[in-house]
Each structure stands twice: as structure tokens, then as C-alpha cells.
Assembly symmetry: C2
Homo-oligomer: 315 residues x 2
């Protein structure tokens, strides 16, 4: 099957694009009318680095590629708008495989109200995907960056962490495996946090410690995290212990949970909590505070400090 | 070198972003205020498919990746705005290699007034790049699509074609090799053509015949091309003949010239020609016409019709 034929078959599967889209897939460029401010993020997933076929279905790989890209938008509080898909097709991936992969993308796009309006397909030695997502808000100041945390703010996290890392352990419960393979971008929670005055926000993709570090650095604050307050995915701790792994290091360092880590003024915490619960049916939990200074301190329940690992890896 | 360190070194090399950019590289997403309509295009370049190291320098590979993406914008008449770069780093590409590649992108971005505001870096088995580019215009109707050609319109092309294909021949003159390795996106010519009323436009990346086919199909017209009228790059025909290649097939089918193929009403042709010349210092040449019907007919000077090749390849 040629590129053009594949693209034609993909186009048949696409839902109607949203009202901002004037020219969709099939021209030199997609034409949109943003009508305000846009947030744009790109994300690559590479076979053997970010996923392995056999461990995940092609549909799950497609889903996760779009989910991780949309998670970056969630962390700005954007309303999802458009997505563009680059697909590098490995020699052993046939037409049905390509379409299964794209179905994972198309279904999540439909669920989240994201219009798939462009893409490119190439042969490649190794399967890869690169997703570009564009989100919207009326004004640029409506987006939450990583840079606005102030000393005195509460540090809070949506949902539960550690599930995705525990999901990689042999024999892990199915719910944890799903956290690894089918993450859900917290788009509604992100918008709720933005409206409730979150001062800074980031999605937890590299691990709680590493992502807190990014937020601390960009905001010019220190973050102190009480590990005992961090809500862990049910069964994650037990799975780590059974596997003989240091549970704190694994669960707080493992990443891929795609929850949102945000700072919020103490007086707006209750409002933020209620907004997240109403928007997405999940909890927002206070896990620490922003202080003057720099860096991240993760204090374990026994008083020890969790050493930070080198998360700075090319992955 | 880790991903974060590489990204930090890249950020040092970036020129100041344009006035639409509110949050640039380094956050979850880049924030822009488009202030009108946007045209967005994505393009992938994969080692062994679109380029070979050794035949092109890393700087040229970077340049070409952005050039081919911007060429799609040129074909809409957009003003270039922002670019986002995904880089898959092969094991044998070291830090200096990555930076040389990125320098090719950064320099063309600076030349064209494009702001590099986001990206992602991953390890990969094979070097690849995926570029997303966003262009702007006041209103969506200011962009030229592939779909607006009308029977009776003149078919015209900017510059000269065949140079890029001839540049692949062993011993080709340096100017032709440069057409292959360092294509220039015709951004100014594209904007000039849009203002001068081009009814449809496409960039010649797949080859004149194939791209005329895309335009004809989307517009619902037939295109008739007089091969003898097509301006060939100086020396291209001689290089093809020396190599024993069918010059028409090579020069009109080979692609990668990144010139613009446009339709324009007969009464605006002089205006369009003058506008292209003033904007970019190149010629706009009448090479055929749009007619009722469908398909593309390329008539050679001796009266034969050039058979269309199967261009529908995954590349």
C-alpha cells in the first residue's frame, strides 16, 4: 500500500473536525481559526525506547502516543483542539497494523474532542510516532505554565501515582498494567485547575521527583514533598515489594502516570479540589509546599530523604 | 549527554522568538497568539529513505527538513510563524552532530523569520526528524488550497525544475547538487501568488506530474502541461542525457525541487508574474492550463504523451 492510499484510508476513519478547522487533512496544510491563544506541544514515541510491540498492542501504542501529547496540553489547562500525526512505518508493519495503530489515535481523539487534521507517513527501519497537539484558550494568560509557583503555595497532585511504574513489573495487576499502557490525559482536571487559580502545573511523565524538579527550576522555588502524603495507586506498593524493588524509588521515580502536579495558593486549595473532583471524578491531594530557594526535597515517612536519581536520560 | 542538557544547549542557539510567541521552548507547550488564521503542516525525514549521511552534511539534512516543511506553508501563501522539531537520535550521532543538524534548522529559521519554540528528542535506531510548521494569515480565505483551480485557469510554475533530480546523478554540477541538498522554500513567491489571486497552489515535492495530479484531483479539473514550456534548471537536461536517463521522465518526475505550481486566472497572469519576480527574483512561467475533466496530461515537444509513473510510493 502506498502513502497516498494509506492516508486516504485514514481519512475515511476520521470524525468530523471541530469548528475551528477550515481545511482538514489532504491539503498542503491544515487551516484553522484559533480565535484566541494556542498551546502547542510535540511528543515522539520510538519503538524499543518508549514501547515494545508484544508488550503493548498497536492500538495501545497509538493511544499512548496521543495521550502523552495531550497530557502536555492538560498541564497548561488548554482545551484540546487539533492533532497532527507523523508515522514511521517499520518494514514488518502491514496496512492492517498501521490502521490498528491509527485507530488507537482516532478513538482517543474522538473521546477528547481533538480533530486529527494532518500528518505524514514514511517508511522507517523502526516504528515511531511523532504527535503535535494544539490546544486553545481565550487569552495567553489563561494557560498555566511551569513558571508561576510562589513560596507559600501548596503542592498538589491529581489522582494516584506509581501505578504505571508498578505496571511494568511481571505479574502486576491488570489495573496497573493499564496505567502503563493506556494512560488518560487529565484534560478536564487541567482546565479545572487553571480556572481554580493553579499558579504552575506540569504533567508527571518523567517521575514525580524529576517533574517537580522541572517545575521548581522554572518557577525559581524549592519544593518539599512528604512522600507519605503522596496517593499511590492501589496495589502498586505491594507489587514493588513483591518484586524486591525499593517502593519509594520506583513509585515516585518511575514516571508515566500522566497525573498533574500543580501549585495553588493555600486559600484556593478547597476550590481547586472541588473543581478537579467535579471535572474528572478524581482527587486532588496536597503533598507538599513551595518554599523560597531551589531544588526538590522528598521526605520519606521514616524521616530519610529520598535521594534524587539521575533522571536526565535520553529517552 | 542527556535530553535535558541537549535541549538546554539548543535553546542557547535560538534567536528571539517572534511577537506571536508568549511562552517558548522549555515548558509543557509553547503559547502563541495567532491573531487570525493558521496553516499547519508536518513533515518527516528519515535516514535511508529521504537522505543518506555521507551524501549530505548534517547541517544540510537539518536545513532540508525545515525547508521541506516550510515549502508546504509556502504553497498556502502563509507568512511563516513557528516551528517544532522532533529529533530521533541514532546511536552514532554524538552531541556535536546533533548540534550541527540543529544549526541547519536554526539558520534557515532565522533566515525565514520562523520561531523555533518547541521540540522533543529521543534515542532512535535510525536518525529521523519530524517538523511541524505553523504559518499565519489574517483570514482563512487568504490561504490558497489545492482545491480552487477552475477550467480556463493558466497553470504556472515558479523558478526551474529538474535540478534536484539531476543533482542526484554522479558528477552533476554543484548548482544542481545544491538544488537537491539545500532547497529553498518559496515563501515570498507563495505570498505573492496568494495576493495576486492564485486559485490553487501546491509545492513540487513529489515531481511535477504527481503534484499536478494532486492539484487536479482536489480541484476537480484536468491539467494539461506542455513539457517544452517547463523551465528546466540549467545543465539538468545535459546531466540526465550524459547518464543515459530519459530526461523528461527524470526531470518532470523526479521531484524535490520545491517550486510552486499554481493556477491563476488568465487576466491576472501578468500581475502574478510581476509579483513573484519582485518578491523572490525568480520567474513565473506558464506551462499549461486547467480544463474541465480530470487527470494530468504531459505533452512532450515531439507530440508524445509522457506516461505517468507510479508515484504512489511510501517514501
Amino acid at each position: 500500500m502506498g502513502e497516498f492510499e494509506l492516508l486516504a484510508r485514514v481519512r475515511e476513519r476520521l470524525p468530523e473536525p471541530g469548528p475551528r478547522v477550515r481545511v482538514g487533512s489532504g491539503d498542503d496544510a491544515a487551516v484553522t481559526v484559533p480565535g484566541g491563544a494556542t498551546a502547542t506541544s510535540v511528543d515522539a514515541l520510538v519503538e524499543g525506547v518508549h514501547f515494545r510491540r508484544g508488550e503493548a498492542t498497536l492500538r495501545q501504542i497509538g493511544h499512548k502516543a496521543l495521550a502523552t501529547a495531550l497530557s502536555d496540553l492538560a498541564a497548561t489547562g488548554a482545551e484540546p483542539g487539533e492533532a497532527y500525526v507523523v508515522l514511521g512505518v517499520a518494514p514488518d508493519l502491514d496496512e492492517d497494523g498501521c490502521l490498528e495503530l491509527l485507530d488507537g489515535i482516532v478513538d482517543l481523539a474522538a473521546e477528547t474532542g481533538t480533530s486529527l487534521v494532518g500528518g505524514d507517513v514514511s517508511r522507517a527501519a523502526q516504528l515511531f510516532l511523532a504527535l503535535t497537539v494544539v490546544g486553545h484558550a481565550p487569552r495567553p494568560g489563561d494557560f498555566v505554565s511551569r513558571a508561576g509557583a510562589r513560596p507559600g503555595d501548596v503542592l498538589a497532585i491529581t489522582g494516584e501515582v506509581g501505578g504505571a511504574a508498578a505496571g511494568l513489573i511481571d505479574g502486576a495487576p491488570e489495573a496497573l498494567v493499564a496505567r502503563q499502557l493506556e494512560p488518560q490525559p487529565r484534560l478536564a482536571a487541567g482546565r479545572a485547575l487553571a480556572r481554580a487559580g493553579a499558579t504552575a502545573m506540569i504533567d508527571v511523565s518523567d517521575g514525580l521527583g524529576a517533574d517537580a524538579g522541572h517545575l521548581a527550576e522554572r518557577s525559581g522555588v524549592a519544593l518539599r514533598i512528604a512522600a507519605g502524603a503522596v496517593p499511590l495507586a492501589p496495589g502498586a506498593r505491594e507489587a514493588a515489594e513483591r518484586a524486591g524493588r525499593d517502593p519509594w524509588r520506583l513509585l515516585l521515580g518511575g514516571g508515566e502516570d500522566y497525573e498533574l502536579l500543580a501549585t495553588v495558593a493555600r486559600e484556593r486549595l478547597d476550590e481547586a479540589r472541588a473543581a478537579v473532583h467535579e471535572a474528572e471524578g478524581i482527587e486532588l491531594t496536597e503533598i507538599g509546599a513551595a518554599l523560597a530557594g531551589g531544588g526538590v526535597e522528598i521526605r520519606l515517612p521514616d524521616g530519610r530523604e529520598l535521594e534524587s536519581r539521575g533522571f536526565d536520560q535520553l529517552a
